[in-house]
């Protein structure tokens, strides 16, 4: 591996100048230039962004113009900032420079992660023990509140239901589609995969609009919702589907939307796994007289296990946080609530930071096993690399 720090074992150390700092001495010009450049760039960016809201008349009140300026200043500014950061580090004495360059390169990326994910996660845990304005500690009060509330228990139950149904069905359907597609002609495969895959491009809100139309209920004889039209043609009576709690039908109908959106993703990954299965293992099974069914279960599936788990976990994480569909279509009415929507209600509608944070902490606890699995899995992969 190429190293920035001189590897003592490497042949002829120092034979190649490793960075722009050839002399190995500090360059005050670079350090100063870098520092000044970063400050000036940062100041200019800040001023421009603030001017959008304070002085919109400068931009003729045009959203498009503001947008263009914002894009240019945002993207360009980020690049210029980095340029000066690099200049600053290269200006340091060589030893310090070589040691610091990796961290300079990591700084913006890891800085964002720390600021946007790690700090808030810790702060949220902290808030979960505080009152609704995060001003004084209330101990376990928030947890008592949520576990004591019927709404929360119902949401947990619904989330568990989503967890049990959606990942499994998505993987199963994805596998079926992948296997079927694999047996089509090249063109047929490509077209049909695109069709199944397309919903991946659609937002949850857009998908809710699409399926809201399918589940539509009209007063009167003529039903314009597809589901009710089919149902009444079969002799049933038109229903307001999303308010039917019996057997959790409304929740299941919401799950259908997520499955519809995600099967394409599952199919793409599983399909590439199928194509990775060596043809001769299938041939060998065929020669041994295995039926297609046996080949599928005993040859194909075991060799796709890794991908199946990957897809399953990805969908699982998605399901844990499912929000938009429920929020848009039912907002938790008729016992369809889920944790993420409950969180949104507490945060946004009731403004109770304490309870909202406690709900997120529960969510965080729920993903912890996945997180541990993920890290282990990664370590294993790295060892095989």
């Amino acid at each position: 591996m190429t190293t920035a720090v001189e590897d003592p074992g490497a042949p002829a150390p120092g034979s190649a100048p490793d960075s722009g700092v050839v002399h190995g001495r500090a360059s005050a010009r670079k350090i100063g230039g870098g520092l000044v450049g970063m400050v000036v760039t940062g100041y200019v960016m800040y001023t421009v962004f603030m001017s959008f809201s304070i002085l919109p008349e400068v931009y003729f009140d045009s959203a498009v113009l503001i947008g263009v300026v914002a894009v240019v200043v945002g993207v360009g500014g980020a690049a210029v900032l980095f340029y000066f950061l690099n200049m600053l580090v290269e200006g340091l004495p060589q030893r310090a420079s070589l040691g610091l360059i990796p961290y300079a390169y990591l700084l913006p990326g890891l800085g964002f992660i720390s600021l946007m994910l790690i700090y808030p996660a810790l702060q949220t845990i902290n808030f979960s023990f505080a009152d609704q304005d995060s001003e004084s500690y209330v101990g376990l009060e928030n947890y008592k509140t949520i576990f004591g509330s019927e709404a929360f228990r119902s949401a947990i139950f619904n989330n568990l239901l989503w967890l049990m149904i959606v990942p499994a069905v998505t993987v199963a359907l994805g596998t079926i589609v992948a296997v079927l597609a694999d047996r089509l002609s090249t063109r047929g495969e490509s077209v049909s995969k695109s069709v199944i895959f397309l919903p991946m491009a659609i937002s949850f809100v857009g998908a809710s609009a699409i399926w809201g139309l399918v589940y539509d209920f009209s007063i009167g004889d003529e039903q314009v919702g597809l589901l009710n039209a089919i149902w009444t043609t079969l002799g049933g009576e038109a229903q307001t589907w999303l308010s039917i709690e019996t057997a959790k039908l409304n929740s299941i109908l919401l799950m259908v939307i997520l499955i519809w959106l995600q099967v394409g993703f599952a199919m793409i990954l599983l399909s590439s796994a199928i194509k990775g299965v060596p043809e001769d293992t299938i041939e060998a099974a065929r020669i041994d007289g295995a039926s297609e069914w046996q080949i599928f279960w005993q040859v194909l599936i075991p060799q796709m296990k890794g991908t199946i788990i990957t897809v399953f976990i990805t969908v699982l994480i998605l399901v844990l946080k499912v929000f938009d569909i429920v929020y848009v279509l039912t907002n938790g009415r008729d016992n369809t609530d889920v944790i993420a929507n409950l969180f949104f209600k507490e945060l946004f509608a009731r403004g109770n930071a304490g309870v909202a944070s406690a709900i997120v902490v529960i969510l965080l606890l729920a993903v912890t096993p996945v997180l541990i699995y993920q890290v282990r899995h990664f370590r294993q992969e790295e060892m095989n690399r």
């Binding site: 690049a79 702060q123 090249t186 946080k321």
Partner: protein
């Protein structure tokens, strides 16, 4: 998630190499037997998958009275006399803020796609081609952070960016920062996995020629990583464009609202004006669909390179 799949191009079908081009009835071009079960099964699934979207599309071109009195499928049997109209689309742009929402979404999505990529590429470069203390620990941290639900960030970030803090919530700037942060772990992960497959000798020889890391990065690594950069860019663009939660919380429903937030407020409308919903939904979907069709190959690559996002 699995780093080995990075290089495995999922491809939307290449198997012309499998066999000979002799064609008899019941066989395909590549000589495999034509499987009618597969064809019919797939056809059924495709119809099932298309119908809901088709219904929306057809309805968006019908007048309110038509749409409320007969099912959209009825006009497929009589398309010449169906009273097609683009009125809903005209009214969506004239009567609602969906048009400006569209522009806002672009303003949100483009920087929120480009900025994280630039920063992530630098970090990925450091993780791939440099040695430093704490490297493994930091990278494992990134793998772990990928699954953290973004909901954890909302309350602290509302405090930090809102009126109690920097007071930039409701501004595009706030949303760019958030999307940059939330997209970062995955971006670093995907790019690093890709860069790890690049030949080390090229980097070595650049070093011999006296190139700085900065030069090597821009002149060699960035051009060579274009497939992975594009793959992540598409994923991130679609995520940001389609995002509702962050846009709703940090941009709100005012002048900076994105097209998805505008669509959500249309969804709340009952009775009069409800017919605009279908047209609005389609407006919000057009761009992601175009991106999707134009760049599907890259998109697939992005997904297969381990796209878990918290």
């Amino acid at each position: 998630m699995s780093s080995t799949t990075v290089t495995k191009e999922a491809g939307l079908a290449t198997k012309a190499t499998r066999s000979t081009p002799s064609r008899t009835p019941g066989t395909m071009k590549d000589g495999r037997r034509r499987s009618w079960v597969s064809i019919l099964g797939m056809l059924a699934l495709c119809v099932l998958w298309t119908l809901p979207t088709l219904g929306l599309l057809v309805t968006s071109f019908r007048s309110r009275i038509d749409a409320a009195s007969t099912g959209w499928w009825t006009i497929l049997f009589n398309p010449g006399n169906a009273g097609w109209t683009t009125d809903n689309y005209r009214r969506v742009f004239e009567g609602t803020d969906l048009g400006s929402g569209f522009v806002n979404s672009l303003v949100v999505a483009i920087p929120a796609t480009v900025i994280p990529i630039m920063f992530a590429a630098f970090a990925a470069y450091a993780f791939t081609f440099m040695e430093f203390r704490g490297k493994d620990f930091l990278f494992v941290g990134i793998v772990a952070v990928m699954v953290i639900p973004i909901q954890v960030a909302f309350q602290p970030m509302l405090n930090l960016l809102g009126p109690r803090g920097l007071d930039i919530s409701q501004e595009f700037f706030a949303v760019w920062l958030l999307h940059t942060g939330f997209g970062m772990p995955l971006a670093i992960y995907v790019l690093r996995n890709y860069m790890a497959t690049l030949p080390k000798t090229i980097i070595e020889s650049a070093k011999m020629d006296g190139a700085t890391h900065y030069q090597t990065f821009w002149r060699l690594i960035v051009p060579m990583s274009v497939p992975a950069l594009a793959a992540f860019a598409i994923l991130q663009f679609l995520w940001v464009w389609n995002d509702f939660l962050i846009a709703k919380l940090f941009l709100g429903s005012g002048g900076n609202a994105t097209v998805i937030v505008e669509l959500q407020s249309l969804l709340g409308t009952q009775g009069l004006g409800r017919e605009l919903l279908t047209a609005g939904a389609f407006v919000s979907m057009v761009l992601p669909m175009v991106v999707f069709f134009a760049l599907q190959r890259f998109f697939v690559r992005g997904l297969t390179s381990g796209a878990v996002k918290g």
